[in-house]
C-alpha cells in the first residue's frame, strides 16, 4: 500500500445518505479475479443518468468524495474501495462511514474521514457553489481544511501510522507469530476442525 500523508484536491459532492456498496460497484463487476479494472464500474447505474453529479465535467479529476451519512453500507465488497481509488479518489468525507467500508479504506490508502454532519453540509455547499474549491485532508494532523472550514477528524493512532507509512498489515502481524502460536496452544480441544 502507498503511504499517504495528505490529500489536497477538488471534491465531488454526493449529497445522499446510505449509499450502499451495490451502488458504488454493482455485483456483476465482482466476477473479476483481479484487483484492478473496476473504475468503469464506479456508480455504474447512477452514471447513466446525465444529471448525476459525477457526469458534471466541472468535477472531473476530483480526488475527494464528500457524501452523506452511512456511506459504504451493505456488502463487504472491497471492490468498492478499489473502484474509488482507481477513479482517482484518495479520501472520502462523510458524517459516518459504514464499519466494513471504513476498514477496507484503510487497506488501500483511501483516507476515511468522519466529521460532524454540519461540517459535511458546509463542505457540500462550498463545493457545489465552487467546484474548483480545494480541500485538504491532512492525515498527520487529522484535520480537514477548506476555505472557511477547519475540522478535526478521528483516526486511531495505529490507523494513522499505517496510512503514513503505507504498512502491510500482514507483515506487522507476522512479527507477532510467537504470540499467535502461544495462543493456539490454549485453544479448546473441542473446537471444530476440517481435519475431523
Amino acid at each position: 500500500m502507498n503511504a499517504v500523508r495528505r490529500v489536497t484536491g477538488r471534491a465531488l459532492p454526493l449529497d445522499r445518505a446510505n449509499v450502499d456498496t451495490d451502488q458504488i460497484i454493482p455485483a456483476h463487476w465482482l466476477k473479476r479475479v483481479e484487483r484492478t479494472g473496476y473504475g468503469a464500474g464506479l456508480f455504474e447505474a447512477w452514471r447513466r443518468d446525465p444529471s448525476f453529479v459525477m457526469n458534471d465535467p466541472r468535477y472531473a479529476g476530483a480526488s475527494i468524495l464528500i457524501a452523506g451519512a452511512n456511506f459504504g453500507s451493505g456488502s463487504s465488497r472491497e471492490h468498492a474501495v478499489w473502484a474509488l481509488v482507481e477513479t482517482g479518489f484518495r479520501a472520502v468525507i462523510a458524517p459516518r462511514l459504514a464499519d466494513i467500508f471504513r476498514a477496507n479504506c484503510l487497506k488501500s490508502g483511501l483516507v476515511p474521514v468522519e466529521i460532524e454532519a454540519g461540517a459535511v453540509a458546509k463542505l457540500l455547499r462550498l463545493v457545489e457553489s465552487d467546484p474548483r474549491a480545494e480541500i485538504t485532508v491532512d492525515v498527520e494532523r487529522r484535520v480537514v481544511e477548506a476555505p472557511g472550514l477547519h475540522a478535526s477528524f478521528e483516526l486511531e493512532d495505529h490507523a494513522r501510522t499505517r496510512l503514513l507509512e503505507g504498512l502491510d498489515d500482514i507483515a506487522v502481524t507476522l512479527a507477532h507469530a510467537n504470540e499467535i502460536t502461544k495462543y493456539e496452544s490454549t485453544r479448546a480441544t473441542w473446537l471444530p476442525s476440517l481435519r475431523d
Binding site: 466476477k31 452511512n70 476498514a103
Partner: protein, 464 residues
C-alpha cells in the same frame, strides 16, 4: 469480577495480543471462503510467498455466481472465477465444496449444517452476512478481501473491541409473524445505521422462542442495521441443533464444550452501551416499499407519502418511490409482482421451505408470475426432497433449483429484468441488487408464498 456481556466474553477469550494504542489482535476459529471475495487474497499470498496458516480452520464453497439450473450455464468470467477458487483451494490445501458437491451451498447455510458453527467461536468471511452465525452465540462478521488475505496468512485479525447493544423483544409473536418480520421490525425501528459500531445482542422471550433457523434469519440481517455483528445467547435450542452434527464435539468433548457454552450468556447486571426494547405483540408481517431495508410497512399498510416522514428522510423516500415506481397511498396488497424469489442466506433453510410449502400446497402460482425456490444448500435440497416439498412447489408451478445465492444478488444467471418487481425473501432491496433496474420487496417466506399464489402481496389467510 465485572459482569460481562456475551459479546465481551467471546471477544476476550480470543485476544491474542492487547496493547495500548493498538486494536486487539484476535484469533479466528473459522474462516469461511467463497469464490467472489477470495481470488485477490490468494493471489496476494502467492506474490508474497505466504501460505495459509490453518487450512484446517478454513472452508471454501462456491455460492455467489453458481448457476442454479443447467438451463442457464455460468458465463465465461464466472467460470474463470470458479476455476480460480478450485485452483486456490488445491494449491493452498483448503477444503472446498465446489459446484456439484453434495455439501455445496450458501456459505452461511452450510457451516451451521455441518456443525462447524458453534457457540463461543469467532467466525469471519468475506461476506457481510457472516453475521448469520451469531445465532449460535458466536462473534461472526464480514470482512473485505485484504482482511481475507490477512486471516489466511495469520488466522488473526486486528480489530477494535466493538460496542455493545441489546435489542430485547419481549412477549409472544402474533400469528403469522416470523423471524424475518422480527428483524424487519427491528430495522424499521432502529434504522439502517442503528447498530453501527456495535454487536447487537438479541434478547427476550420472543427471540428465545425462535428456532435456530429463525435465529439465523434475525442475526443474518444485523448488517442491514449497520451492526458489526448480531448475537443470541446459546441455550438448549442451540445445543440440540449442534449436537451430533458432523463436526460437533463428541463424547467427553461434548460435555466440556457444553460447560463452556453454558457460561457464555451475558451476566446479570452486564451493561450494554445501548438498549432498545420492543413489544413483540406490536410486530406484524412487513413488506419493504423502498430501497433500503428500513423502508418497510406492515402488509395492512399503504405506500407512505414522503411528506409524512421525518424531514431528513423525505428526499431519500421520494427517490426510492421513483425508483420503485410506486405511488404514495397505494395499499400494499394492491401492488402486483412479476417474480417471487424464495431463497438466500436469510431464508432458504428447511424451516423456511416447510412454511412456504404449507402455504402453496394444493394451490397454483398466479398465471404470469415467475416463482423460484432456491434451497440454501444441496443438503437442504435433499432434505426437502425427502419430505416431498419439491413436489409441492413444482405442482404449484414453482421452479425447483439447485443451491446458491441466486437472485439475492445480480451476479449469476438468476436476475430481474429492468422494471421487474419481485417479492423476495432475501436481505437487500438496494437499487439494482437483483439485477439492473429490478425492484425488490423484502418479505418473509410465508408472505412470499402467498404472494406467488395471489399475484399481489398477500398473507396466507388471504388465499381462498
Amino acid at each position: 469480577m465485572t459482569a460481562r456481556t456475551l459479546a465481551e466474553k467471546v471477544w476476550d477469550r480470543h485476544v491474542v495480543r492487547r496493547a495500548a494504542g493498538e486494536p486487539d489482535l484476535i484469533y479466528i476459529d473459522l474462516h469461511l471462503v467463497h469464490e467472489v471475495t477470495s481470488p485477490q487474497a490468494f493471489e496476494g499470498l502467492r506474490i508474497a510467498k505466504r501460505t495459509v496458516r490453518r487450512p484446517d480452520l478454513t472452508l471454501a464453497t462456491m455460492d455467489h455466481n453458481v448457476p442454479t439450473t443447467a438451463a442457464t450455464p455460468a458465463d465465461e468470467i464466472s467460470l474463470k472465477q470458479m476455476e480460480a477458487m478450485a485452483r486456490n483451494a488445491r494449491e493452498f490445501g483448503v477444503r472446498l465444496f465446489p459446484m456439484g458437491a453434495p455439501e455445496q451451498g450458501i456459505v452461511h447455510v452450510i457451516s451451521p449444517q455441518l456443525g462447524l458453527t458453534e457457540p463461543g467461536m469467532t467466525i469471519v468471511c468475506g461476506d457481510s452476512h457472516t453475521s448469520t452465525h451469531g445465532a449460535f452465540g458466536a462473534i461472526a462478521f464480514g470482512i473485505g478481501t485484504s482482511d481475507v488475505e490477512h486471516v489466511l496468512a495469520t488466522q488473526t485479525l486486528w480489530a477494535d473491541r466493538p460496542g455493545t447493544m441489546a435489542v430485547t423483544v419481549e412477549g409472544a409473536l402474533p400469528r403469522g409473524v416470523w423471524a424475518k418480520d422480527v428483524i424487519l421490525g427491528i430495522i424499521g425501528r432502529i434504522g439502517v445505521n442503528g447498530g453501527v459500531g456495535s454487536v447487537i445482542e438479541y434478547r427476550g422471550s420472543a427471540i428465545r422462542s425462535l428456532s435456530m433457523e429463525g435465529r439465523m434469519t434475525v442475526c443474518n440481517m444485523s448488517i442491514e442495521a449497520g451492526a458489526r455483528a448480531g448475537m443470541i445467547a446459546p441455550d438448549d435450542t442451540t445445543f440440540a441443533y449442534v449436537e451430533k452434527r458432523q463436526h460437533a464435539p463428541k463424547g467427553a468433548e461434548w460435555q466440556r464444550a457444553l460447560d463452556e457454552w453454558r457460561a457464555l450468556p451475558s451476566d446479570d447486571g452486564a451493561r450494554f452501551d445501548r438498549e432498545v426494547r420492543i413489544d413483540a405483540s406490536e410486530l406484524r408481517p412487513y413488506v419493504s416499499w423502498g430501497t433500503n431495508p428500513s423502508q418497510t410497512v406492515t402488509i395492512d399498510g399503504h405506500v407512505p407519502d414522503p411528506d409524512s416522514l421525518e424531514p431528513s428522510q423525505r428526499e431519500a423516500a421520494g427517490r426510492a418511490l421513483r425508483y420503485m415506481d410506486l405511488r404514495a397511498g397505494t395499499p400494499i396488497r394492491d401492488i402486483t409482482i412479476d417474480t417471487v424469489f424464495l431463497g438466500s442466506c436469510t431464508n432458504a433453510r428447511i424451516e423456511d421451505l416447510r412454511v412456504a410449502s404449507d402455504v402453496v400446497r394444493g394451490r397454483k402460482v398466479r398465471s404470469g408470475v415467475r416463482a423460484l425456490v432456491v434451497p440454501g444448500s444441496m443438503l437442504v435440497k435433499a432434505q426437502a426432497e425427502r419430505e416431498g416439498l419439491d413436489r409441492v412447489f413444482r405442482d404449484a408451478g414453482f421452479e425447483w433449483r439447485d443451491a446458491g445465492c441466486s437472485m439475492c444478488l445480480g451476479m449469476n444467471p438468476d436476475i430481474l429484468g429492468p422494471g421487474e418487481r419481485c417479492a423476495s425473501t432475501s436481505n437487500r432491496n438496494f437499487e439494482g441488487r437483483q439485477g439492473p433496474g429490478g425492484r425488490t420487496h423484502l418479505v418473509s417466506p410465508a408472505v412470499a408464498a402467498a404472494t406467488a399464489i395471489a399475484g399481489h402481496f398477500a398473507l396466507p389467510e388471504d388465499l381462498s
